[in-house]
């Protein structure tokens, strides 16, 4: 009876430890397909690239030098809106 009890305690400890390790273990490497068909590639590109509406700011025809903006603003009689960021607003993340 005592032997069964001790075995039970050890089994519980082992099972608990295993479950804890399983939960804490890092996830495996993402299963990248070995054969990247054109269809599979297109599917992944679609998921990764910006979806419709995600890059709404991209609907703005941003210029990328202040001089170009000054020339256009002077010609059209408009003020300039400059979005200045440490890291290009259109390309740093």
């Amino acid at each position: 009876m005592t032997r069964v009890f001790i075995l039970g305690i050890f089994s519980s400890l082992f099972l608990g430890g295993f479950c804890y390790w399983l939960a804490a273990a890092p996830s495996s490497i993402a299963p990248v397909p070995e054969q990247m068909t054109a269809a599979r590639m297109a599917e992944l590109q679609k998921v990764i690239r910006p979806c419709e509406g995600e890059d709404a700011f991209d609907k703005i025809a941003w210029l990328t030098t202040i001089h170009e903006a000054r020339v256009k603003a002077a010609k059209e009689g408009k003020p300039i809106l400059l979005w200045e960021m440490d890291g290009h607003p259109l390309g740093c993340g």
Partner: protein, 325 residues
């Protein structure tokens, strides 16, 4: 992430397009430039609270006239309602200027002077420009879906550009146009992809991988078809990047490229990188716990758009980016 909040607002979007001439620049370059572009910017910024003391940042959203009078300023565009008010007030100030300064062609803008070569990056002539997007992912069944995270905007696709010089483009062309011929992706390009473009920049500017962080970088090109007008190539790769136990990325790469000999150009350059990413750097906090799937999609940029001709983030420091370190 100003672009996520402010410029996604329909009213701000409409106002920006209709009432202003919109322009974006990278403050890291602009505030340092010793040329007419930098001089003009500092003249405008000096009218704002952003004086850039000791060469510090001058980032923000500015509204000003073509001859350099500041009409409005806000340090960042986090709140669309606040920005709307800044824009409306600035537009009202503009409308009160003398007619001679706001009528079309009322102001004369001098020609741009010689750019400061130290803080101006020039698009590679006859090279290749690639658009690079990254996104956090989640595995679902046998595929991947967009991931979710607590960081505002961290679930959105990042963007950057990759530049390949004309000489490097030549080095990509297969030395033997024979189906099955396999060769290594030229070292400079392989290193550039690994160190500066296989990064998680979805939450801001990460630190780039250093040379010693590239533990493995095996990328090959294989000729898959030789046609009258094109050579088709498949790209395969496995990269291991590691900057200590808490920061790493182990992607596999697959790609399809097509070279058109008559045009001496690639008309397809699609690459997908997929793998588990772990960790974050100083300016990219808020990463997901543990190792999580991350995807990168690379394709040809559309150079008819000025916004796709901007410099890669990694080329601020030219020598490492161009493989000269």
């Amino acid at each position: 992430m100003g672009r996520v909040s402010t410029f996604a607002d329909p009213a701000v979007l409409k106002m920006t397009r209709a009432d202003f001439v919109p322009v974006c620049t990278d403050d890291w370059y602009t505030r340092r430039r010793k040329d007419s572009e930098g001089d003009f910017f500092r003249k405008v910024a000096d009218q704002s609270p952003r004086k850039g003391l000791n060469g510090g940042t001058r980032q923000g959203i500015y509204v000003f006239t073509a001859d350099g009078e500041l009409l409005g300023y806000k340090n960042h565009g986090g709140d669309a309602e606040v920005m709307k008010k800044v824009f409306l007030d600035a537009k009202a100030k503009f409308d009160k200027l003398p007619e001679s300064r706001r009528k079309p062609s009322g102001v004369t803008v001098p020609a741009a002077g010689k750019p400061d070569a130290n803080f101006n990056r020039i698009l590679p002539e006859d090279g290749i420009v690639l658009k690079v997007h990254g996104r956090i992912l989640e595995a679902k069944a046998e595929t991947f879906v967009k991931g979710t995270c607590d960081f505002t905007g961290g679930d959105q696709a990042s963007r950057d550009y990759c530049w390949i010089t004309a000489d490097e483009k030549k080095s990509l062309i297969p030395p033997k146009a024979e189906v099955g011929f396999c060769y290594a992706l030229p070292e400079k390009i392989a290193q550039r992809l690994a160190r500066f473009h296989l990064i998680d920049n979805t939450r801001g500017e990460p630190e780039f991988w250093k040379k010693e962080h590239v533990v493995a970088n095996k990328i090959t090109l294989t000729v898959t078809a030789v046609k009258d007008d094109a050579i088709e190539l498949r790209l395969d790769g496995e990269v291991k990047l590691e900057a200590g136990p808490k920061l790493g990325f182990e992607p596999k790469l697959r790609g399809n490229l097509r070279y058109i000999p008559s045009k001496k150009a690639f008309d397809q350059f699609d690459i997908v990188a997929l793998g588990d990413y772990r960790g974050e750097t100083t300016y990219t906090p808020g990463s997901r716990e543990g190792r999580k799937p991350f995807g990168i999609s690379i394709g040809l940029a559309d150079l008819t758009k000025p916004s796709e001709r901007i410099a890669p983030q990694g080329i601020r420091d030219r020598d490492p980016y161009l493989g000269r370190d």
